[in-house]
């Protein structure tokens, strides 16, 4: 009977006001690929951060090869044999691949701190070769290497620490399709070497191809661990989704009109991929895709944050959107996914934040029209029920939900015709979620056309009149309202375009 290389027992993690994980048990055996699945916010990343030494658990023990361990830092975890490869690599683009693997390591230095270059290059090449990266010249600077090679370097770095456990966070998200297979080969080699791999991914197809076991988390708790042969895609999705309460979502009975407000033709997402779709007046169009699908790029293109080719037609007229100001002039508004970085300006007041996009209209010449600004900000505070003593309060002190309402409000005040919402309820509590959903619904009823980009399936399903599913920069499916459930949605989003006769 083989012993687990890693046991996480009774792991709980509390953040101020939130219980992110409760009593999670997780076991990992040598030479297995163990998929970790769950919806956004299910607790995957919290669990992996605990395992890789980013922060400690509130409760619970971690045992590595039978011994209880505590990780003080990611480096500490690495030294003890647990390495993580983040979606965004931690590489020095200005240094050679070999140095990246062995940066600042005592075993590579000789007398007087002299680096033993030949040993370093040899060892690095050996490690890279051992994971099938033979074509990589470890003397080259990392900035010259492709994404797959960079990933191999990250893996080699982990191996250089004699990793027993390797966590791979969405390893295929950044890879082009043809390199995913190469990455699988690497994973198989690692497996053969007895490394235990935690494979965090949303992509069903990959999970069934590469994983031996799968553990599903939901709402901070472990649902189950199964052998991959014991589950089907359907059953996995059911485990992830659970029983959903649907009263969060308002009833959408109204039919949107046929009037096309926005048409997008061959809008380029990168050099090789482009999408076309249309948005009707008063419609909520859901756009769903797993990380790397390109849904964020669509928003960036429509709002002028990124340039490219293709036609955008607003109310039938072709428009050129080269910067956010152009989009604003065409009455396109964008509520970005990262509220803190892109949405609010923290030390500034609610009033200043709400009025920011609209200031040219709220001025007399260069001077601010304080009366109208005040009126407008009060109006939207009431309309969106932003809870604060007054609108002079700094947005710093608001809850996530109220901050998000400020971001939505600042764009509503600009009277847009098209509203792009990306992750509108990220980091927002349930009560505020329901409120925001109510707002979105009401806005659509009032005739606003909404493009809803979200990675939260219930929200996309609950709100959208139509749902477009994106997979690696391609629109692979369209669902009408009521047609999709989470299982179908996820299944569509984790596969390339279905072949004929395969419609669900």
């Amino acid at each position: 009977m083989e012993h687990p290389v890693l046991t996480m027992d009774g792991i709980s993690k509390e953040f101020p006001g939130v219980k992110a994980l409760s009593n999670v048990h997780f076991e990992l055996y040598p030479g297995e690929v163990h998929a970790l699945m769950g919806e956004n916010g299910a607790g995957k990343s919290t669990l992996m951060k605990i395992l890789s030494g980013v922060y400690p658990a509130t409760e619970g023990v971690i045992r590595l090869k039978g011994k209880e361990v505590a990780f003080g830092s990611p480096l500490d975890a690495q030294k003890q044999g647990v390495s993580i490869i983040h979606q965004e690599f931690n590489l020095f683009s200005n240094l050679s691949a070999a140095e990246n693997i062995f940066i600042d390591r005592p075993e590579m230095t000789g007398k007087l701190g002299r680096i033993r270059w030949s040993k370093l290059y040899d060892e690095a090449q050996r490690l890279v070769d051992s994971v099938g990266g033979g074509e990589i010249d470890v003397r080259r600077e990392v900035r010259h290497l492709g994404v797959h090679s960079q990933q191999v370097i990250e893996i080699a770095k982990a191996l250089s620490f004699q990793a027993d456990v390797l966590i791979m966070d969405e390893p295929s998200a950044a890879l082009p399709e043809n390199e995913v297979q190469k990455m699988f080969d690497v994973v198989k080699r690692l497996k053969a070497q007895g490394v235990a791999i935690v494979y965090v991914s949303h992509r069903m197809k990959e999970i069934f191809e590469i994983a031996d076991k799968v553990t599903v988390l939901r709402d901070g708790a472990k649902i189950d661990t199964r052998r991959i042969g014991e589950v089907t895609e359907q059953s996995l999705i059911q485990m992830m989704v659970g029983k959903e309460v649907n009263q969060l979502y308002p009833d959408r009975d109204q039919k949107p009109s046929e009037e096309r407000v926005l048409e997008v033709r061959q809008l380029s997402l990168d050099a090789s991929r482009a999408v076309s779709f249309e948005l009707r007046k008063g419609e909520i169009l859901g756009l769903f895709g797993v990380p790397g699908s390109g849904s964020h790029t669509i928003a960036e293109r429509l709002f002028g944050l990124k340039r490219g080719t293709g036609d955008i037609l607003v109310n039938g007229a072709a428009v050129r959107i080269r910067r956010p100001g152009d989009a604003k002039a065409k009455r396109i508004a964008y509520v970005p996914p990262d509220r803190h970085r892109q949405g609010i300006i923290k030390p500034m007041s609610i009033r200043q934040n709400l009025s920011l996009p609209l200031l040219p209209e709220l001025s007399k010449g260069p001077l601010l029209d304080q009366k109208r600004i005040k009126q407008m900000s009060r109006d939207y505070m009431d309309k969106l029920r932003i809870k604060a003593p007054n609108d002079q309060q700094s947005v710093d002190f608001l809850s996530g939900g109220n901050q998000q309402k400020v971001v939505i409000g600042k764009w509503l005040a600009a009277h847009p015709e098209i509203l792009i919402l990306e992750e509108p309820t990220r980091g927002v509590d349930v009560g505020a979620k329901a409120e925001i959903y109510g707002i979105i619904h009401r806005l659509a009823q009032e005739g606003l056309s909404i493009l809803l980009i979200s990675s939260e399936m219930p929200e996309v399903i609950g709100l959208s009149d139509r749902i477009l599913v994106l997979y690696k920069g391609e629109l692979v499916h369209e669902f009408a309202r009521g047609e999709a459930d989470q299982e179908q949605l996820l299944s569509r989003a984790s596969h390339p375009r279905a072949t004929e006769g395969d419609s669900l």
Partner: protein, 317 residues
């Protein structure tokens, strides 16, 4: 709510500390030098503060927006010499003043173009301009001073109205105007916004490029204006005019409570910072302390001002 009051008392504390520092300097030099505490001396100080004061206005805005302009002293010298040369070539003195202002605007535009439009590092670009313009100043006038302006021109820097120097009145008026701008216009909201979160401003459909460009343009214009006043006050345009003025300007700005990483600051604070600097300089002058020693004290003050902010920030977090 309590957080807010803490924030407020903090702000008041800062102002209080600045005023106390000013008072301390006034009292100290009143004791140390018999010439310090007199109307004549004070008017003299006000007469001398116009150059630093004028440049401190756009500098405060630029630092609030999260950047810095180290080329102001060289722009001052460059504009002053341009004016002198234009005048020597027979241009009317007021037309020459216009030439100076245009020269300043041009320098500011170059800074702005590189920094705002092409997102180059403000510090390096303005250091480059600092060195290059100073070099050009020497190239233009071969290092000799240019003087001999008409009397009407000296009005700007030497005339007193009801016992108060004209240039000080002018500075006060510009400060009030700028203060008004920073309180009442949408431009100021953009400046503070950029300093706090440039990306969010960009995502609000506001042109960050344009705002930054205008800031550096203003900096060029005000530096040139300072150059004109300096020439009028000293009756001569010299190649060294404005050298090291950035130390005074930055110290005044940062002592005045403007945060080195941007986002926070006020012109009223800068004004007090300015008074601290000019009275300190004047007092030290009266005590016969050499200019380079004064630089030591100013440099130390700069370090303390920024180091202290750091401390404040740590507390408020």
């Amino acid at each position: 709510m309590s957080m807010r009051t803490i924030g407020l008392s903090f702000k008041q504390n800062k102002l209080l500390v600045q005023l106390l520092l000013l008072l301390f300097i006034l009292v100290l030099f009143s004791i140390l030098s018999p010439y310090f505490l007199s109307v004549t001396n004070f008017m003299n100080v006000f007469n001398q503060m116009v150059e630093v004061g004028l440049i401190a206005i756009p500098m405060t805005m630029i630092v609030i927006s999260g950047a810095m302009d180290l080329s102001v002293g060289s722009i001052l010298g460059f504009s002053a010499v341009c004016m002198g040369i234009a005048f020597e070539h027979g241009l009317n003195i007021w037309a020459s003043v216009l030439v100076a202002l245009l020269a300043g605007l041009l320098c500011g535009a170059v800074n702005g173009y590189l920094i705002a439009r092409h997102r180059m590092q403000a510090i390096v670009v303005t250091i480059g301009m600092l060195v290059m313009l100073r070099g050009l100043v020497y190239v233009l006038n071969q290092g000799r001073p240019i003087s001999g302006y008409p009397d009407s021109f000296y009005f700007l820097g030497q005339q007193y109205i009801a016992g108060v120097p004209f240039n000080a009145i002018f500075l006060a008026a510009v400060f009030l105007l700028a203060h008004f701008v920073m309180k009442r216009t949408r431009f100021s909201t953009y400046v503070y916004g950029i300093g706090n979160n440039e990306e969010a401003v960009h995502y609000s459909g506001i042109s960050v490029v344009r705002t930054r460009f205008i800031l550096f343009l203003l900096s060029g214009l005000f530096s040139a204006m300072a150059g004109v006043f300096l020439v009028s006050r000293l009756a001569s345009a010299e190649a060294t005019s404005g050298t090291n003025i950035e130390l005074d300007v930055l110290t005044a700005t940062l002592i005045g409570g403007t945060h080195i990483f941007g986002g926070r600051g006020s012109l009223s604070g800068t004004f007090i910072g300015l008074l601290i600097i000019v009275f300190l300089r004047n007092g030290l002058n009266l005590l016969g302390v050499s200019v380079l020693y004064q630089a030591v004290i100013l440099g130390a003050l700069l370090l303390i001002a920024v180091g202290n902010k750091q401390f404040n920030r740590g507390l408020s977090r």
